[in-house]
Symmetry: C2
């Protein structure tokens, strides 16, 4: 441990590299290196592993390697709520896959929006000499950049900070709103209501802009009396039922799938059928809900996996990014049976 | 970087320790240590930080510290699917909170049940000299222990491996099934149907055992014709509707909340009211579903957060564990308005 070689470039040799060079599994490499008793490995494979280790100058201790190079193969991910939403998980998943693909390991910290926990998480990551930090929120919003984030490279994922100069990657809310509305237009609807959220947010303004753009392109005048506001949960959709029916609309674009689920309950209670009496379009493509409503919900997917993956690519300089304007990721429509 | 001090015990001094000793925030410590220009910190606070750094012999480079001690302050968490289920997130959350509380950082790897990804994740963790590994599955089941896991301390979370000698922490399925059934008994029901899953699993057998135990304790004979099998999703609950009505039951215990959600749809379609015509009890307390059905669903919660936290405590030796029998965590009943 006292004779550390200096690193020979930026690529740290991992067990995976050794396994590839030797034509064996990572598990076999690990067993050979750690001289695991009882592991049944042929002499020939064992020799190939030893040769690959020597050739690649592999050192089992990643930390020693990291230390000699001044930066680690870690990327930090600070998230406000990976646990309390079924959404953010896919951001982590995408970030992890992309990090691994490039030989990095993701350090994940869930802070639940707690400032002290966030400071500690970032401090911990700086102490571990991360290559940079992805800072992510569970829904798309503008944030104030934590001052400590300035001490390393950072990319904002599913959030942005105007004027901060930090690169950012967010869902294309306007395109999503346009695609959702176009789905209803394509099914022949002309009088389309929109249940938007009561919460001011990029999703609120972006999806509305997309709804208006789609109507405009179809030559339909925007009618403000067809836009309703509701809390973005099942309860909000349910209480909107009466207004929706009274509006004379034949189709509804809902701010999200939870609102659509509540509207389903409300329409059913009034004896209306979906889509025969009312077509319904959601937003989010939420895992345990969208595909499992009766009828299965047509919706627009939030591209969480892609947001995480793109964030890592931008952090590593593999994808261009701008500190001035967020990079937009498309929200693809998912057509099922509610329109 | 060439004059590493040997560690002075097992506790690694972190920025948090320095902040505590100096009576300032972690952010202030970071700013002082990194000599951040523009940070407005009083001379007096700055001095206190410097004093605390000297007193505690704090070294900003955690990796150097780790290297000098031979093990790191990392705990690994290998999960099969943190991303594709809204469940496992809380396991991570609990594990992270408990790890941080004890000065450890959680390294999370999502493997999606892919053997090669799993081997790589474990290899990566061994390379980073983790203190040990939590191996977790997104639903409670028996697993075959990955051979590489034997190369470090390990605790199984939400899974177990009979005869492996590894400590394990799992939900108490039988108590959960008993509590669910007791909730229906307490509301005066005597003829209680059970929609169990078609998938053989500890949840399938444990919840059935709990259902039987509760009936037994209430002096009600077990009637096999009241137990139905269905896929553990909304669709399974929906198609069970006819059988449930034909059974003459006044209440139903559903294998999980998704099944209950599908049954809600089915009962509504038949014109039956919940709970007046049929009482419904779920299992899981799934975040975006249970509280938001109409009426809000009474259910039993899976203790995911506690599973993660207990796993860390067992790994660190802060909580006793047995290699012979899994440690059981209680599933608390959550009463809402469906019974």
């Amino acid at each position: 441990m006292s004779t550390l070689e200096p690193g020979r470039g930026t690529h740290v040799v991992t067990m995976r590299d050794v396994a590839k060079a030797a034509g064996v599994s990572v598990a076999t490499v690990s067993n050979v290196i750690n001289d695991k008793p009882g592991a049944r490995i042929g002499d020939e494979a064992r020799q190939r592993v030893h040769n690959a280790v020597a050739e690649l100058a592999y050192r089992p201790n990643m930390l020693a390697k990291t230390l000699s190079q001044g930066t680690s193969r870690f990327i930090g991910l600070v998230a406000d709520a990976i646990a309390t939403t079924p959404f953010a998980g896919q951001i982590i998943h995408g970030a992890q896959d992309e990090a691994w693909k490039n030989g990095y390991v993701l350090l994940v910290a869930n802070t639940d929006g707690n400032q002290a926990a966030e400071d500690e998480a970032i401090a911990m990551m700086l102490e571990h000499q991360v290559q940079g930090i992805l800072y992510s929120t569970w829904y798309h919003r503008e944030i104030t950049v934590p001052p400590m984030l300035q001490q390393t490279d950072a990319v904002l994922v599913d959030c942005f900070a105007s004027g901060s100069g930090l690169a950012s990657v967010v869902p294309d809310e306007e395109q999503g709103g346009r695609s959702a509305t176009e789905g209803l237009l394509a099914a022949g609807h002309r009088r389309i209501a929109f249940i938007n959220t009561t919460t001011p947010s990029p999703a609120q303004s972006g999806r509305l802009a997309g709804y208006r753009a789609a109507l405009d392109a179809a030559g339909i005048d925007f009618d403000e009396s067809l836009v309703f506001l509701a809390t973005p949960e099942q309860e909000g959709g349910f209480v909107s039922t009466t207004d929706i029916i009274a509006s004379g609309a034949s189709a509804v674009f809902c701010h999200n799938d939870r609102v659509a689920m509540g509207l389903y309950d409300g329409l059913r209670e009034k004896g209306l059928r979906i889509p025969e009496d009312m077509a319904v379009m959601g937003f989010d493509n939420q895992d345990v809900i969208a595909a499992h409503l009766r009828p299965p919900l047509s919706t627009v997917a939030l591209p969480h996996y892609e947001l995480g993956a793109a964030g890592v690519r931008m952090l590593l300089g593999l994808e261009s990014s701008s500190g001035a304007v967020p990079t937009l990721i498309a929200c693809p429509p998912i057509l099922r049976h509610s329109i």
